[in-house]
């Protein structure tokens, strides 16, 4: 699955670009992909010392409400809250996409993971063939039902933000880059070790079984 993350500011904020967020407070849900996507959007626009973030709840509805209450200058949200934010007049100053990665323990063998890959590959094909229909999942499978999300119609969603891709093996170079990047922010430590991160044999067998 490809996740879309948007860096949003309140409707009347005098912030129009990521650069405008230098030294401004940005709330992120540390520990989740959305937070790291937020850091990448910020650091692409300013020196690291100008990046000013604080931790906040992973529940997107809570981050959106706090943004609107003026608790911080910006935050990063995913769908359906990107659409909620746009309808509320918020400004998207940056958007990005990032992969969700499945983390399995050693009870998952190649045959089981291969079946999972084949099923989600077919699901990705079906979603991409009829995105407008499937955006209903954004309304039914969020953190919890909220009036803001329930008020959305399927036509409100920007389909270009729904990107679904069939699972593929993790490129080693990408995994190494991610490790090094997270280490540079102090989230991880030590040298990257592919054998402790990716079971190459299971991954290869699972993806070859199609």
């Amino acid at each position: 699955m490809v996740v879309c993350g948007a860096l949003i500011v309140a409707p009347h904020a005098s912030i129009y670009t990521p650069q405008d967020l230098a030294h401004r407070l940005v709330a992120l849900d540390y520990g989740n992909g959305t937070a790291y996507a937020g850091l990448q959007m910020l650091e692409s626009a300013m020196p690291r010392e100008a990046v000013n973030t604080r931790s906040f709840d992973a529940n997107t509805a809570k981050r959106f409400a706090a943004l609107m209450a003026g608790e911080f200058d910006a935050t990063v949200v995913q769908e359906p809250w990107i659409t909620v934010a746009e309808k509320a007049g918020c400004r998207l100053v940056s958007t990005t996409f990032f992969y969700g990665t499945w983390v399995a323990n050693d009870t998952i063998d190649a045959e089981t993971y291969g079946a999972f890959v084949r099923a989600t590959t077919e699901a990705a094909r079906r979603i991409n063939a009829d995105k407008r229909s499937y955006v209903r999942y954004f309304k039914t499978h969020d953190f919890e039902p909220t009036p803001e999300v329930q008020a959305l119609s399927l036509d409100d969603f920007n389909l270009s933000r729904l990107q679904v891709k069939a699972p593929e093996p993790i490129p080693e170079a990408d995994a190494r880059w991610d490790w090094d990047w997270m280490s540079s922010w102090g989230v991880l430590s030590g040298e990257y070790d592919i054998e402790s991160q990716i079971n190459v044999a299971v991954q290869a067998a699972a993806h070859a079984g199609g």
Binding site: D29, N32, S55, A58, A115, A119, T120, E122, I127, Y134
Partner: protein, 73 residues
């Protein structure tokens, strides 16, 4: 042989493909039963309590406890 896999719950923004595969019996067609593990009270610890270097996240918690074999990061 029907295989069973228990995963941590997903939401549409990060797991629409899984949700569709469940609803449209695509896992079953592959001989796979996928179950979403249930979270217990207290599992959804607030990320607000963490720091960048020491984040607090529910991701992986159920796998760590042995209640799920996969989660999405």
């Amino acid at each position: 042989m029907l295989r069973t896999m228990v995963i941590e719950p997903v939401r549409a923004f990060n797991g629409m493909d899984v949700l569709v595969a469940l609803d449209e019996d695509l896992f079953a067609a592959e001989g796979l039963e996928v179950q979403c593990a249930s979270r217990e009270p207290g599992d959804m610890r607030s990320t607000a309590d963490g720091t960048l270097e020491q984040p607090v996240s529910a991701q992986g918690l159920l796998q760590k406890r042995g209640a799920a074999s996969m989660y999405q990061a």
